[in-house]
Point group: C2
Chain length 360, copies 2
């Protein structure tokens, strides 16, 4: 078993990320990790049917309730969050109770925000079942729901008590979900890890075939990369924003597609491609590097162009809803050089528009 | 001007409480304290009409929006919270925007929770206009809304960037609101400050007459007392629970009265009287001390008996909804001796029932 320790500013919030094949069948581990007497499992029906029984076998002598939410980003809203709180209130859950998030990024974000706000905060355990959630969203304490006018606009920083990752569950993950998760994995290479980028270039076939050794490797490397950045900047004052490479473009596409057209990782992939185009325009990276970025996205079956019904100007305008906007200025994660990113507000509008146009 | 510094675990969350007569007319102070460019003022119509103009005069060159909420505890709910978030989204408020809570405890709690959750947290300035809010609810970072099944059940710990207190605004406060606030002021004496208790005994007439010097004194002493406890125990692991003297009984009365019959401070006053009765029964305080407690509550025009339509057993049962209940056990703030309290779960049921009965 791999174990990554996360050390935070408030020391009583330190926690562990445990990564092991068949972890969900390890009853003793689950029983000893979850300390609370009352546990609310939040999940989707699909995932619940596959894995809840295993987890419940580990949770001996607990008062367990379940909140099964419909699947999809469109249900990541205040109404779903309210359902979790209602269930906990109706079952007289106390301040020393816990929520266990069993699912992908949507479930983790919803359950995390419910845990952050129930009685001003109860424990949450993240059990991510999608690649995206395993390498990104379950780690770092960002929780929240969407507002009809913007993604992730309502939420809290709320750290989990533990993150339990079983790479084996990826075998039952729909192919498109796996692909979308790879968008975030590639991102870690591009931000600051050339070696990992090369590893992904060389091993894309084995990874696409879900070779267990390679899956454990990419999850562990990605989780560690995220932890390193979160530890340095828990509340996104600076460095943490690097994790948003491709995200400002991506969020705009998600918004224009009403959160249903693109999966998050797909929109991020197109966003990474736009960032690469911008970097090439600004001569930060060579044309060869730009092509390598497009190629790796393609090798992992990710899209690198948006549907041409979207207008360049509309995408540009939608970017201003981004949380990194400060004093009306667009701040982007940009390539300083290949596999080395920074946050900057110095791009010209015409270059940004051109980069968006090139990804049509 | 009195200035109280609040030092917290996360050092970037330290803040100041500023207390001065006519503070709201001090344009320079307001302009330099509120650093953000976008400010959402949350208030009730009444208070807004009285004081918003002054504050807006201080906020030069800001984008200011206003959310005016209906008055009353029954509006401290998810719907009101959502209205604040909607307004900020519609006006494209960014992560470096701020909320300014101008009002009593309900406004402060609602605006504070909106600030805690908008884009995972923006600045909030508390400008409390009721005595209760000035001495208690605006300080310490507890924010939240009520759930239909329980009070303050949804919320967050979220510290203000500053608390601005102008004792002069109490002159326009309805008499019953002032009286209710005195319930919390007296509490600080009873918890651990005999000297302050004696001061209140000796000066009750001047305080009831709203002598400005005495008002500034009781607000400053109360705010400092709250800060001392919050600094020692920000997240209510232990000592902070002392602030709930009289509150477990009080919350039960508020619940039975549907949150409309009693104001919070009135219910707390009756709760303090019950705590005094319990302490006398358990021989922790003398009968003379018990009488002094009843007398001071009466001198400040607070109730010391509940309406006799309520049954002792119903009050007792309603107490179990309290957030301090652990593993089904009632934990109460009790007198160790006169003006010296502790949290304890060792009272006998029959003694508690008798104490409740004596306050009929």
């Amino acid at each position: 078993m791999k174990q990554i320790e996360v050390k935070l500013q408030r020391q009583n919030q330190d926690y562990s990320i445990l990564i092991a094949n068949s972890l969900l069948s390890n009853e003793d581990l689950i029983n000893s990790t979850v300390k609370e007497r009352q546990v609310c499992i939040v999940s989707n029906q699909n995932i619940y049917d596959l894995y809840a029984e295993k987890i419940k076998n580990g949770l001996k002598n607990r008062q367990i309730i379940e909140v099964i939410l419909p699947e999809g980003e469109e249900y990541k809203n205040i109404s779903s969050w309210g359902k979790i709180l209602d269930a906990m209130m109706q079952n007289r859950f106390a301040r020393d109770s816990a929520i266990l998030a069993l699912g992908g990024g949507v479930i983790g974000d919803l359950a995390g925000f419910a845990a952050a706000s129930f009685q001003r905060g109860v424990a949450v355990y993240q059990v991510p079942t999608s690649l995206l959630a395993q390498v990104d969203s379950s780690i770092g304490g960002k929780t929240g729901v969407n507002h009809e006018l913007g993604k992730n606009m309502i939420g809290a920083f709320w750290q989990p008590k533990a993150v339990l990752i079983d790479p084996e569950v990826l075998r039952t993950l729909p192919e498109r979900e796996f692909t979308a998760g790879m968008g975030e994995v590639i991102k870690y290479g591009l931000i600051n890890n050339l070696e990992f980028f090369k590893y992904l270039e060389e091993n894309f076939q084995a990874i696409n075939n879900k070779n267990p050794e390679h899956l454990a490797k990419i999850i562990t490397t990605s989780a560690q990369a995220k932890v390193d950045i979160v530890q340095a900047d828990e509340f996104e004052g600076g460095k943490r924003a690097l994790l948003n490479l491709g995200h400002t473009f991506g969020h705009a596409l998600e918004t224009l597609g009403n959160y249903t057209l693109y999966k998050h990782g797909e929109a991020v992939a197109i966003g990474i491609r736009i960032a690469a185009e911008l970097a090439a325009i600004e001569q930060k990276i060579s044309d060869e590097s730009r092509k390598r970025i497009c190629q790796i996205l393609t090798n992992f079956n990710l899209p690198i162009s948006y549907q041409n019904k979207f207008q360049v100007e509309d995408i540009y305008q939608a970017m201003f809803a981004d949380k990194k906007v400060r004093a009306g200025k667009l701040r982007l994660v940009k390539f300083r050089e290949f596999c080395n990113c920074e946050v900057s507000a110095d791009s010209k509008e015409k270059d940004i528009l051109e980069a968006i146009n090139l990804a049509k």
